[in-house]
């Protein structure tokens, strides 16, 4: 894992782009193409600290036709293309390798059609996740995947990363909420994968596209499923004297046959940080707290609430049920501020993301503490406990000598521990460049070759977002040299 200072390299100009820029301007108009250093510099990074390449020209299409035009220009100049949403990704998915043409979807931000009867909306890929839910709220509907970044991330990014969120425990991740995607392929051709009918025939290309991290094509229209708002919601705050009790409660709740809408855990370090930041009323003395939400019809929700409370108490927990919407909002605000609370501690952070079997949570958390302490790092844990999705958040200062190396080492050890107990590399942030070189920890050469076949089915030239996800040995030959030859910088 290569961690760096956050996006600040310089370098000399190169003019290979000039003709390409002229063609892009010819195809899209000057107001939709930016080739200046400022625009390219900013398109060279996402919310992670992986930035090995520099963006080429940055395009701002507003239609499928524009995206097709970009793709054709790219093909004629043999340039790579990188789709970019809000740039909130945490695995370097939208951070370029080489110097690809960047296709920013921020101007493709219209909700095209809402069909309340069938509970489907067609949206452009640049629509912000929370904006969509807000817009359909008057219909009593929402878009279920709710990443903690939902106020900023785009539906296109959600689709590309198959993003999750607290409420995906009950409702499923993005893939379960995407019915069809219009995709511009590297050939410039636009195809609609999936469909609004019940069982579109052919392979589930839609399903394969979701989670393809910008490497199969550029999503230009997405048909998402809208979920009816639950009639009743209850949120419980459970606090425990030990992480083990909290984890055992999670297991017991799940095993009891309940399907809570969300089960989130925060450890003591996290609670302390959150309470310093927003006074959400979390008990500072608790070793771990659980935020559990149940929803559905009111009588069932009451029964579930009682059951969760009973299980919590049986495990030595202190139980508080949010009395009203205000208290509920405050509890969630605490959970959602966790990231910010820790971000104030140090200038850089590394937000890890692995999944382990629920029964291994205690064991793995212990190992995580041991690892970060050994590497002299600050870490808090706040995560989707219901599905075993760990998010150790490591805060550090990359200017301190050796800090990057320590974070990288700790990150790798946490991965190894997770895999050793039967876990996986990533639960929601994706592989990108961050975990590309660890893919061989989880997959054999045969597995990776099959994944490469799937990618080549969509993009035979490996033009889209080259160098990501698959370790170089399994990537297309023509881009294998990407990370070796770093292109010149953006400041002419």
């Amino acid at each position: 894992m290569r961690l760096g200072r956050r996006n600040r390299q310089g370098g000399a100009r190169h003019d290979r782009t000039d003709r390409c820029v002229a063609d892009l301007v010819g195809a899209l108009g000057p107001e939709r193409v930016r080739a200046d250093g400022a625009a390219r510099h900013l398109a060279s990074a996402d919310a992670s600290m992986f930035s090995d390449g520099t963006a080429g020209p940055v395009c701002f299409p507003d239609s499928t036709e524009h995206v097709q035009a970009v793709m054709r220009v790219a093909a004629s100049h043999d340039r790579a293309v990188l789709p970019r949403g809000a740039g909130s990704g945490l695995s370097g998915g939208a951070a370029p390798l080489g110097d690809p043409i960047v296709v920013s979807t921020t101007r493709m931000n219209r909700v095209l059609e809402v069909d309340a009867e069938d509970r489907v909306a067609w949206v452009q890929p640049g629509v912000v996740n929370l904006d969509l839910s807000r817009q359909v709220a008057p219909l009593g509907l929402h878009f279920a995947p709710d990443p903690s970044s939902q106020q900023v991330c785009t539906i296109g990014g959600n689709v590309a990363n198959n993003s999750g969120g607290p409420h995906c425990l009950a409702y499923g991740v993005t893939s379960a909420h995407v019915l069809a995607v219009e995709v511009v392929l590297s050939s410039g051709e636009a195809v609609v994968l999936g469909g609004l009918d019940a069982e579109p025939s052919g392979y589930d290309l839609r399903g394969a596209f979701v989670g393809s991290e910008g490497m199969f094509g550029i999503a230009t229209k997405i048909a998402v499923r809208l979920t009816p708002d639950p009639e009743s919601i209850k949120t419980l705050l459970l606090s425990f004297d030990s992480v083990a009790d909290a984890a055992a409660t999670v297991g017991a709740v799940i095993a009891s046959g309940l399907v809570p809408a969300a089960v989130e855990m925060m450890d003591q370090r996290c609670v302390a940080a959150v309470e310093d930041f927003v006074q959400a009323g979390y008990p500072r003395e608790a070793a771990a707290v659980l935020l559990i939400e149940v929803d559905g019809l009111s009588r069932g929700v009451e029964a579930d609430t009682r059951k969760v409370a009973e299980i919590g108490r049986a495990h030595g927990g202190n139980v508080r049920v949010a009395a009203d919407e205000e208290e509920r909002a405050l509890l969630w605000k605490g959970r959602k501020s966790a990231f910010g609370a820790i971000a104030r501690v140090a200038p850089d952070y590394y937000l890890h993301d692995t999944v382990v079997p629920r029964s291994k949570l205690v064991e793995v958390l212990k190992a995580v503490y041991e690892i970060v302490d050994r590497h002299d790092l600050v870490a808090v844990n706040v995560f989707h406990a219901g599905d075993g999705n760990l998010h150790p958040l490591l805060a550090y200062d990359s200017r301190q000598p050796g800090a990057n190396e320590r974070v990288a080492a700790a990150g790798q050890e946490i991965l190894e521990v997770s895999l050793a107990v039967g876990g996986v590399l990533s639960g929601e942030h994706g592989i990108g460049v961050e975990k590309r070189d660890f893919m061989e920890f989880q997959f054999t050469a045969a597995d990776l070759e099959q994944q490469a076949l799937l990618r080549r089915s969509f993009d035979p030239h490996c033009r889209l977002n080259p160098g990501k996800v698959l370790p170089s040995a399994h990537s297309c030959a023509d881009v294998a040299s990407l990370s070796a030859s770093r292109p010149d910088g953006v400041w002419g």
């Binding site: 400022a38 600290m49 909130s88 990231f339």
Partner: protein
Amino acid sequence: MTDSLGLLGVDQAELDSCVACGLCLPHCPTYRVTGADTHSPRGRIALMRVVDEGIAPLSDEIVESFDSCIQCRACETACPGDVPFGHLLEATKEFVETTQRRAPWWLKLGLRGLTRPRLLRFVSSSLAVAQRLRLVPSRRMGIPERLPVRRRALRPTGDDVWLFTGCVMDAWQRDVHLATKEVVEATGTTVRPTGDAAPCCGALHTHAGLGDDARKLAARVISALDGDNAILVNSAGCGAALKDYGRLLDSDEARAFSERVLDVHEWLADRIDQIEMPDAQARTGGRVAIQDPCHVRHVQGTHMAVRRVLEPFVSELVELDDEGMCCGAGGAFSLVQRQLALDVRDRKTAAIDRAEADVVVSANPGCSMHLAAAGHAVRHPVELIAEALRSR
């Protein structure tokens, strides 16, 4: 962590406190309308960084990125890491201005004019006459369509509190001062308008990167308003600027001064029960939509106070559904970045239309003028309160 100074002269730790998470992006009006990272807070900070470290030259595009910022500071409210964006951008603008002298001559001339109240009133009245004679295209010039030719006198009633009158507002919206005075006096408090002794708060100068001018004005205002009396401000931008003198001048005197400054709604909120409430019929009718000036909501954080004081006096208060997104006025911004200001305003206009509001209230002269130019009926909250009190 060493607190070093780069080219911008800001504390690098402040620049580095941005972790690039992007959570501020959707709250930034300019990013919302253009979708360009160069028009986003995260992008602007990243560019400040490369300028600060001397990595990138101060190119036109980089300067444009800074100049296109409305300085609404919505990004500060949204930021989980408390990045002091406003201060960083002010320092950056000052750096740009001192190294490149970018501010247009007419803007500088105009800003100087603000510090000369009599001249300002004269020019303003002349313009008003010219408007009546249809000699000036008001809309294109971004000035209110019906400037007052004559102003009613604003006389002191005592010394309990200062009422900061400012520059443009006093020349163009004196009625708001009169209403403010009336409402404050309804609590049994006497009011002394600051008048020409403290002619301008300097906010616009700070925003334009004219730091020296701003500091001079601040010193002048502080020395004119000595004593311990509270200083009430009914213009969001001025209030925010006066409250920031402590940081701007970095002196104990200035900090003590800033402590005395209160947004008028903030002050009224604590005294609202000293006013005799109107009965239901006397309340101002229609649907009243609240538009929070950014310097109320994101800088001073006094937007809830506005609601508290206004609520008893109007029949129906409605919220806009755009979460306090900037209207695009931004002081002189709407003059300097005309198109961007209009695009941002379109979003606000859409939100106002969705709210089906009869009247919009806004506690900042810049915002009200900008919105009025789009055809909305805009009033200052205290005007509605004063009206309700009068019909009591």
